[in-house]
C-alpha cells in the first residue's frame, strides 16, 4: 500500500492527538497564521483559490470563492462573521469529531486565518450538543490560545447545539445561533450578504477550515498538486458499516473505492459479499459492488450517478435488505424534518410508511409507483435539501435494487425471512409507539 501524505492530521501518529499548545507550536504551528496575517485579505483569498480547496461539508463549494462573496467592510459597514459548522450529523460521517479531538489547534488556527481573510473580528463555532468531549477539547485549546495572546482581538464563541440534524444546513444553523428554532431560510439573500444577525457571514465546515492551515503552510499551489483535477488535496474519509477496519482515513481525492474498502479497510468480513456502498453520507445515492472501481472524487462520483457528499462511506454486505435500509434512512429524515415545508414534513413520513407496507408484504405494484411519485413530489420543492436527501437515497435504492423491491411485492413478504442485518432496528421515531410495550423477555 502506498504511503499517503498526512495533511489534516499532520504531526499526529497512530491516532494520537496534539493537545499541548507548546508542542503544536514547536512542530511549526501558528506559522501559517503569522504568514496569513502578514498578507492582505485579498491575497489570503487568492491563496485559497490557488489551492483549489472546496468545502468538505457536502456541497463542495470552492472555499476561496465563498469568502470572496463576503463584501468588504467599506462596501457593507456591518460586523462581519465567520461561522464554523461543527454540527456534524450526516449519518456515516464522523471525521470532524476526530479532527477536533486530535488537531484542535490546527482547526482553531484555520478559524483565525479565515477570519482575517473575510476581515471578521467575530468567530462562532456551532458544535453539536452530543459532542461533549469535543466541546471540552476546543474550550481548553481556545483558552490556551487566548493565554498565548494568539487571538489578535478576534472573539471566538463556542455555541452548543441541542440535537437537531437540520442545524447542519447553514441557514438553519444561523437561525439556531440567533436563538430561534433551527428552520432554514429562503435564499437569496445568501449568508455572505445577510447571514448571522443579517450581516455578512461566511459559513464553513470544520474539515475545510482545518485544511486552510496547511494550505498556508505549504502554499496554495503546492496543496493543489495533491488529489486530482477538480478535487484537490486530501480528504478524511469516514469508513463504516460492514467492513473489517472501519475508521477515519485521510487519503488524496481520486483513490478508488476498491482501495479504500479493500486495501485500507480490509474488505467486507469473511464469508460475505459486498452489496452496496453509500459513498458520501446517507443523503447520497447508493452504488453497487459493480461500481467498486469508482474514484473517490467530485467528478468521478457525479459520473457514477452519486456524490462525494461528506465522504462518509457506508459499506453494506449481502445480509442487508434494501427495503429495510430505505425504511431506516427515511425514518431518520422524517424524524429530523424541521416541519417548515410541507413536501418534506409530510412526504418523508409517506416514504417511510409506503416502504414499511412493502417490507411487511402488504405492498402492491401501485405502492411502488406511489413511492416514486411521492419522492418526485419532494424533490426540489423545499427550502433546503433535507427532504430531497430522503428522496434521492430511496430512489437510488429502488433504482439499483429494483428486483429486490419487486420480490417483496411478488412474494408478499421480505425475502430475507427475518435474517436481514437491519431486521427490527428501532428508530427514535418509533419510540413513542414502542413505549409502553413491556419487553417480552423481562
Amino acid at each position: 500500500m502506498p504511503e499517503y501524505p498526512s495533511i489534516v492530521f499532520a504531526g499526529t501518529t497512530d491516532g494520537g492527538a496534539v493537545l499541548d499548545i507548546a508542542e503544536y507550536e514547536k512542530a511549526g504551528g501558528f506559522r501559517a497564521l503569522r504568514k496569513a496575517r502578514a498578507m492582505a485579505p485579498d491575497a489570503v483569498i487568492a491563496e485559497l483559490d490557488a489551492s483549489g480547496l472546496r468545502g468538505r461539508g457536502g456541497a463542495f463549494f470552492p472555499t476561496g470563492r465563498k469568502w470572496s462573496f463576503v463584501p468588504k467592510p467599506d462596501q457593507l459597514p456591518k460586523p462581519h462573521y465567520l461561522v464554523v459548522n461543527a454540527d456534524e450529523s450526516e449519518p456515516g460521517t464522523f471525521k470532524d469529531r476526530e479532527i477536533m479531538l486530535r488537531v484542535p489547534f490546527r482547526f482553531l488556527e484555520g478559524c483565525l486565518i479565515a477570519a482575517h481573510g473575510i476581515e471578521s473580528q467575530h468567530v462562532f463555532i456551532y458544535i453539536r450538543g452530543e459532542y461533549e468531549r469535543e466541546f471540552e477539547v476546543l474550550r481548553d485549546s481556545l483558552e490556551a490560545m487566548r493565554r498565548a495572546d494568539l487571538l489578535g482581538g478576534v472573539t471566538v464563541v463556542l455555541h452548543r447545539g441541542a440535537g437537531a440534524y437540520i442545524c447542519g444546513e447553514e441557514t438553519a444553523l444561523l437561525e439556531s445561533l440567533e436563538g430561534k428554532r433551527g428552520q432554514p431560510r429562503t435564499k437569496p439573500p445568501f449568508p455572505a450578504i445577510a447571514g448571522l444577525y443579517a450581516a455578512p457571514t461566511a459559513v464553513n465546515n470544520v474539515e475545510s477550515i482545518t485544511t486552510v492551515t496547511p494550505v498556508f503552510e505549504m502554499g496554495g499551489a503546492e496543496y493543489a498538486k495533491l488529489g486530482v483535477e477538480n478535487s484537490s488535496g486530501t480528504r478524511v474519509f469516514s469508513l463504516s458499516g460492514d467492513v473489517v477496519s472501519p475508521g477515519n482515513y485521510e487519503l488524496p481525492h481520486g483513490i478508488s473505492m476498491r482501495e479504500l474498502i479493500y486495501d485500507i479497510g480490509g474488505g467486507v468480513p469473511a464469508g460475505r459479499e459486498l452489496k452496496a456502498v453509500i459513498p458520501g453520507g446517507s443523503s447520497t445515492s447508493v452504488l453497487t459492488a459493480a461500481d467498486i472501481d469508482t474514484k473517490m472524487d467530485f467528478t468521478s462520483l457525479v459520473e457514477a450517478g452519486s456524490s462525494i457528499g461528506s465522504a462518509g462511506v457506508i459499506v453494506i454486505d449481502d445480509r442487508c435488505c434494501m427495503v429495510q435500509l430505505g425504511i431506516r434512512v427515511s425514518q431518520f429524515y422524517e424524524h429530523e424534518s424541521c416541519g417548515k415545508c410541507t413536501p418534506c414534513r409530510v412526504g418523508t413520513k409517506w416514504v417511510t410508511q409506503i416502504l414499511q407496507k412493502i417490507e411487511d408484504g402488504r405492498g402492491s405494484q401501485a405502492d411502488l409507483d406511489l413511492l416514486l411519485s411521492v419522492c418526485d413530489r419532494i424533490m426540489g420543492k423545499c427550502l433546503c435539501p433535507l427532504g430531497d436527501s430522503d428522496a434521492i437515497a430511496v430512489l437510488s435504492y429502488v433504482d439499483k435494487f429494483r428486483e429486490e423491491y419487486q420480490a417483496h411485492i411478488d412474494l408478499g413478504r421480505c425475502p430475507f425471512d427475518g435474517e436481514s442485518s437491519l431486521e427490527g432496528i428501532l428508530a427514535p421515531s418509533e419510540l413513542h409507539a414502542h413505549h409502553g410495550h413491556e419487553p417480552a423477555h423481562v
Binding site: 450529523s89 450526516e90 449519518p91 456515516g92 460521517t93 464522523f94 470532524d96 469529531r97 467575530h122 453539536r128 450538543g129 452530543e130 461533549e132 468531549r133 455555541h159 452548543r160 447545539g161 441541542a162 440535537g163 437537531a164 440534524y165 440567533e178 436563538g179 428554532r181 433551527g182 444577525y197 469516514s238 469508513l239 463504516s240 458499516g241 460492514d242 472501519p246 475508521g247 453509500i278 446517507s282 462518509g312 457506508i314 442487508c320 435500509l325 431506516r328 431518520f332 429530523e336 424541521c338 442485518s421 437491519l422 431486521e423 432496528i425 428501532l426 428508530a427 427514535p428 419510540l431 413513542h432 414502542h434 413505549h435 409502553g436 410495550h437 413491556e438 419487553p439 423477555h441 423481562v442
Partner: protein
C-alpha cells in the same frame, strides 16, 4: 450560581441576547435535575425578557431539551444505519433486558431512561451508546450487563 446570574453572563457572549436562549435552557435544565419544568422555562424567560411560550417553542424543537422528567442515568443507543449493521438492535434489547425497561421509557425508581437516538457521529466505532451524553464506543450486546452493573454501582 443561580440560573438568573448565569444567564446574565451568557447574554454578554452574543451581540444579541436572544442568542443566549439555547445555552440558558441548558443551564436551567442542568439545575433542574435534567429536565425543563414549566418553572424552569419561566426562569429562563424572565432572565432573557422573553415569554415562556417563546422559550418552550425553542425547547420543544431540539431533542436534547427534555420536557418531562428523565432518569438520573440516560442511556441512548444509536440505531442509525452503521450502528444498525453492527448489531445496535441487539444492544438495545440487552439494555431493555438488564434495566427492565422498554426503550422509550424510564424505570419506576427514576434511575434509568432508555432510548434510541439518531446518528451520534461515531459510525466507525459502532455501536455508539451515549450515557448522560458521554459516548461509549464499540459496544456489543455482551458488554451490556457489565455496563449496567457499573452504572448501578456509580
Amino acid at each position: 450560581m443561580s440560573v438568573a446570574s448565569e444567564v446574565q453572563k451568557l447574554k454578554k457572549r452574543y451581540p444579541d441576547p436572544l442568542s443566549a436562549v439555547m445555552p440558558a435552557l441548558q443551564v436551567a435544565q442542568a439545575e433542574n435535575g435534567g429536565w425543563l419544568s414549566p418553572d424552569a422555562i419561566r426562569e429562563v424567560a424572565d432572565a432573557l425578557d422573553l415569554t415562556p411560550a417563546y422559550c418552550l417553542s425553542i425547547a420543544s424543537f431540539y431533542d436534547q431539551y427534555y420536557l418531562e422528567p428523565i432518569g438520573r442515568t440516560h442511556v441512548e443507543v444509536c440505531t442509525n444505519v452503521s450502528c444498525g449493521l453492527a448489531g445496535a438492535q441487539q444492544v438495545v434489547e440487552a439494555f431493555e433486558h438488564e434495566l427492565g425497561v422498554s426503550a422509550g421509557s424510564t424505570s419506576e425508581d427514576g434511575a434509568f431512561t432508555l432510548g434510541t437516538i439518531e446518528c451520534l457521529g461515531g459510525c466507525g466505532w459502532a455501536t455508539v451508546v451515549a450515557v448522560n451524553n458521554r459516548h461509549r464506543l464499540r459496544v456489543q450486546a455482551e458488554d451490556v450487563p457489565g455496563i449496567v452493573e457499573e452504572l448501578r454501582g456509580a
